[in-house]
């Protein structure tokens, strides 16, 4: 994967993970299901890439992890948004919106002239 794409994906994936957890604690598989469903599987090409992201976010203190029992009675690691993580999500989401819109507008332009 090219570096630029990887960076872009990583930061957007981080944001999506935070978003997924705003609904409550989830295990990795649950998060991947949500992300795939929410993005039509565009972002998560390989489900495995989710896990380093989760561990990174945990290390930064945005998530906490705890072992629990899944719906089908299996031992699973549940992630929960920490207060810092919630704050991070609130700060990041509007930025992402602004950037995405700006980029979209720019990419749609048809001439080299500046307005």
């Amino acid at each position: 994967m090219a570096d630029a794409e990887s960076d872009l994906l990583r930061s957007s994936l981080d944001l999506l993970v935070l978003k997924a957890l705003t609904w409550g604690p989830m295990h990795g598989y649950g998060i991947s299901e949500w992300v795939e469903g929410a993005t039509d599987a565009v972002l998560l090409l390989e489900e495995g890439t989710l896990y380093p992201a989760l561990h990174r976010l945990e290390r930064r203190g945005w998530l906490t992890a705890e072992w629990g029992v899944s719906d089908n009675n299996r031992r699973a690691k549940f992630y929960k948004l920490s207060a810092a993580g919630r704050a991070r999500y609130r700060a990041e989401a509007p930025v992402w919106h602004r950037h995405a819109e700006a980029i979209a507008v720019a990419l749609r332009r048809t001439s080299a002239q500046t307005a």
Binding site: G48, T64, A76
Partner: protein
């Protein structure tokens, strides 16, 4: 950084260790794959395919696993570190609470450490600013100084002539730039009278070499370096502020320098002070390659990158040899090939050239101050171990409650480091003040003194030294405290055994303190004795009561006849001032350093054989010079008013020169000349030899000639006054101004001050080393007093019983004093041994005192031993008053 959420987790994981960290990742990933597989199967995918598809959608599990484990490991490390810092911090706060509970101990220990650390920090500030920091010029490590050397001609260090400057400038490819400079003193005519300007004459590339440009205006052009075109000047920031109000209009202004209209073309930045701190103006030398004599300049160069000073020295030496071959008659090299002589250039890194002479004294002082710190450290260690008995119960309790000995040790060490840090805070404060006072005191002039500041490196070293000393003085008592816990005596009844080992430790510390103090004391004693010898040396003249006044004569008096007339008038006027006992004029008074140094020839004798004795000072003086300075006239006569341009050129030589060739009065009537001048002078007198420039060096040959015959416009007026010179000198000033109003009169100073200044570095060593030794003795005295007090207190019961069963109180006094004496003897003995080794290293700082001077080596250790034994007297008295009943009750 927020790690808080991780805390709980790490506590849960910690007992299971690193393997579980990996297993957790495995479990987590396996769960995902299993869930995915299950979901696919539920959608009807056959089991085999479901597994493959789940794997495919996941990507490479082993890569993901590695990535997760790496992240988790880093996270675990961070958490452990934070946990550790947290516990250190809590130990630290606990330590501060403990220290607050014992204010007396804490105060004494903090002050002791503050003295040790403060002295170290202050001294290191000097060492750092002067010796360690690079010079304040860009790429200063590439700057070198160049002089010449021709030992066979007595020219160990020989300046560079203008002819030499051009040949190195144009010939040496090792230099990115080459320039030369020499000191000068200019008279500036300002609105409020004439003023003397300490100045430097430089060649055009001077500022290029230094890598510093004027802050305002421009450097000199090559054009302006030609004779007659050099009527431009660059002024210092200081002069710009004081005389031109810091106004931009200073550029292009014309000022009168030595009667020459001179245009100001630049102002240097405020911190530029090369080659001397007091330089106020830089003017172009007016380089004239045809000037073959006048070896009075210093070369300065910037090496090309990657070129070593040694390489440049070889290259410039080759250039010098070529010159010697071309001009054999010029330097008396004769037909001998220069490569067979020791003729060479000396290329030294500029930093070394500036600070070289200060390096040894500063290093010695740094070593001395480190000893102080060690003594202070040992002192606090004994203080701490005296607390150990009291701490024993607390430690026992903590051990009983499950603290490991490592944990207790860490707590105790944290406590001592906390103590050291308190000491460091106070000590740094002391150091900053001490350095400030020292720099402003003008007690001594060191190179780069203006650059002395406390910087980050000083603070870092102070911090490191404090923590280290905290660990050092804490470790012994702490280890000891933890170890003796083996017997775990929660009841304080059986303390004797642990007291015994505490005592051994304390005795060792006292011996160490005493021996370090002896080393310092002996070193200081030797230096003090040297200084004493040096200041009481017979200089061959008496500077006390003589005032030196620098007289820069106007250019129109620049011929011998005019000088002669001026000398006559001025001396007549000055001698008439009430309070003036005698007065004389000379090119230079002793230690002012303005005499010529040159080779010399004696009429009728062959050119002297090669050797270091071929150099002589040459000074032109007026009648009355020897009388004013109290230099005894041995044979013949002094100069008289008749020794002027119309008379026979005459000379007076000193005894050192006369004795080399003649005995007694036989020198009179012989003819002598210096190699730089072809006038033969007839010797009319012989005077005693006076020391010059270096009080520690035996006098060199000296030829005095008559100033009325030799001329000169830079003169020193020596005035010997009766009583307070200040009021008399005011009269002298008026007299001079009446004769010649254009002479600036700001170079007035007592001659004894001039001589003193030559002893600066030695005085620094003397004062500081003496102070350090005193501090060491006080600390050691306090140390032994504390330890003996503790011993006596601990043996209170024993002494009480002894008294009860009939021991004489005096016997107990003797017992305690005897123990003190034994410690003192041991410490002093070791110290003398150490001093024998250490003082060899300060040999170069001594004068006329052997590094093993018996008087110093016997008297000072005895003195210290006496102080040590005396410190035991109070504790001994206390032992004699032990009350057996009280001692019993104490348990």
């Amino acid at each position: 950084m927020s790690v808080a959420p991780g805390w709980r987790r790490i506590f849960r994981l910690a007992p299971r260790g690193a393997r579980s960290l990996e297993r957790d990742v495995d479990d987590e990933l396996a769960f995902h794959l299993a869930m995915r597989e299950e979901k696919l199967r539920m959608r009807g995918v056959p089991p085999d395919a479901a597994q493959t598809q789940a794997r495919e959608r996941f990507g490479d599990p082993s890569r993901v696993r590695d990535e997760c484990i790496t992240i988790d490991r880093q996270y675990a490390r961070e958490v452990r570190l934070m946990e550790w810092l947290e516990s250190v911090w809590s130990d630290f706060r606990y330590a501060l609470r403990t220290l607050r509970r014992m204010p007396a101990f804490t105060t004494v220990a903090t002050l002791t450490l503050a003295l040790g650390i403060g002295a170290t920090s202050a001294m290191f500030t000097l060492v750092n600013s002067i010796l360690l920091r690079p010079l304040p010029y860009p790429n200063a490590d590439r700057l070198v100084k160049l002089i010449q050397s021709y030992p066979e001609k007595g020219l160990d260090t020989w300046g560079v002539s203008q002819q030499n400057i051009v040949m190195y400038r144009d010939g040496a490819t090792d230099f990115a730039a080459f320039a030369a400079y020499r000191g000068a003193s200019l008279t500036m005519r300002a609105e409020n009278g004439p003023e003397r300007l300490p100045a430097v004459r430089v060649t055009a590339d001077f500022f290029k070499v230094m890598g510093v440009s004027p802050a305002l205006g421009r450097p000199f052009t090559t054009d302006e370096d030609a004779p007659g075109r050099n009527n431009v000047v660059i002024v210092s920031h200081g002069l710009w502020q004081t005389h031109f109000g810091g106004a931009m209009s200073v550029l292009g202004k014309t000022i009168d320098l030595d009667g020459q209209p001179t245009r100001i073309v630049g102002v240097m930045p405020p911190d530029f002070a090369f080659p001397r701190a007091d330089v106020k103006a830089w003017i172009p030398m007016g380089l004239d390659p045809s000037r073959t004599h006048g070896w009075v300049n210093s070369g300065i160069a910037r090496l090309k990158p990657g070129i070593s000073p040694q390489h440049a020295e070889r290259q410039t030496t080759a250039i010098m040899w070529n010159w010697a071959r071309r001009e054999p008659e010029l330097i008396g090299a004769g037909s001998s090939a220069p490569e067979k002589t020791r003729m060479k250039t000396i290329v030294t890194p500029l930093h070394e050239a500036i600070t070289g002479r200060t390096a040894r004294p500063l290093t010695v002082l740094m070593a001395a101050v480190s000893l102080i710190l060690l003594i202070a450290t040992a002192n606090v260690a004994t203080l701490l171990s005296s607390r150990a008995a009291a701490r024993q119960r607390e430690i026992g309790l903590r051990t009983a409650l499950g603290a490991t000995s490592g944990r207790v040790l860490r707590q105790l060490l944290t406590e001592s480091v906390a103590l050291a840090l308190l000491g460091a805070v106070v000590g740094t404060g002391l150091a900053v003040m001490a350095v400030r006072v020292f720099v402003r005191s003008a007690l001594v002039t060191l190179p780069r003194l203006a650059e002395v500041t406390v910087d980050g490196r000083v603070l870092t070293v102070t911090l490191a030294v404090s923590v280290l000393s905290g660990i050092l003085f804490g470790l012994l008592p702490a280890l000891h405290g933890v170890r003796s816990q083996g017997t775990s005596d929660l009841n304080a009844g059986q303390r004797e055994s642990s007291h015994r080992s505490t005592r051994r430790l304390n005795n060792a510390l006292v011996v160490a303190q005493l021996s370090l103090s002896v080393v310092l004391l002996i070193a200081a004693g030797l230096v003090l004795k040297s200084f004493q010898r040096l200041t009481h040396i017979d200089m061959g003249f008496r500077p006390d009561g003589v005032t030196s006044i620098a007289l820069a004569l106007p250019a129109r008096l620049n011929n011998a006849a005019a000088t002669s007339a001026f000398v006559g008038t001025i001396l007549e006027q000055v001698r008439a001032v009430p309070g003036v006992r005698s007065a004389a004029l000379a090119w230079s008074l002793p230690f002012e350093g303005n005499s010529n140094v040159d080779g010399y020839l004696i009429d009728g004798r062959p050119v002297p054989p090669s050797g270091n004795e071929d150099q002589t000072f040459q000074t032109a003086v007026s009648p009355g010079f020897f009388g004013t300075l109290s230099v005894p006239l041995l044979y013949g006569r002094d100069f008289t008013a008749a020794d002027d341009t119309t008379g026979l050129p005459v000379a007076v030589v000193n005894e050192t020169l006369a004795k080399r060739y003649w005995t007694g009065a036989a020198a009179l009537g012989k003819r002598i000349r210096v190699t730089g001048d072809d006038t033969w002078f007839t010797i009319v007198g012989v005077v005693a030899s006076a020391r010059d420039l270096d009080a520690a060096a035996t006098p060199l040959p000296h030829i005095y000639v008559s100033v009325s015959q030799a001329g000169g416009t830079r003169l020193s007026l020596a005035v010997r006054t009766a009583g307070d010179p200040r009021s008399v000198i005011a009269g002298v000033r008026r007299a001079i101004t009446q004769v010649e109003p254009s002479i600036p009169l700001d170079g007035v100073r007592p001659l004894s001050g001039v001589v003193d200044q030559s002893l600066d570095t030695r005085r620094l060593t003397e004062i500081l080393l003496g102070g350090f030794a005193l501090l060491a003795v006080i600390l050691a005295g306090v140390g032994i007093y504390g330890v003996m007090s503790l011993h006596v207190a601990n043996r209170n019961r024993e002494f009480g019983i002894r008294l009860a069963i009939g021991a004489e109180p005096f016997a107990l006094v003797r017992l305690v004093l005897g123990e003190g004496a034994l410690l003192a003897a041991l410490g002093v003995g070791l110290g003398v041994g150490g001093a024998l080794v250490a003082t060899r290293w300060i040999g170069s700082l001594l004068y006329d005192v052997s590094a093993t001077d018996p008087a110093v080596f016997v008297s000072l250790p005895l003195l210290l031993a006496a102080i040590a034994v005396a410190s035991c007297y109070l504790p001994a008295r206390r032992a004699a008053k032990s009350d057996p009943m009280q001692a019993m009750r104490a348990d």
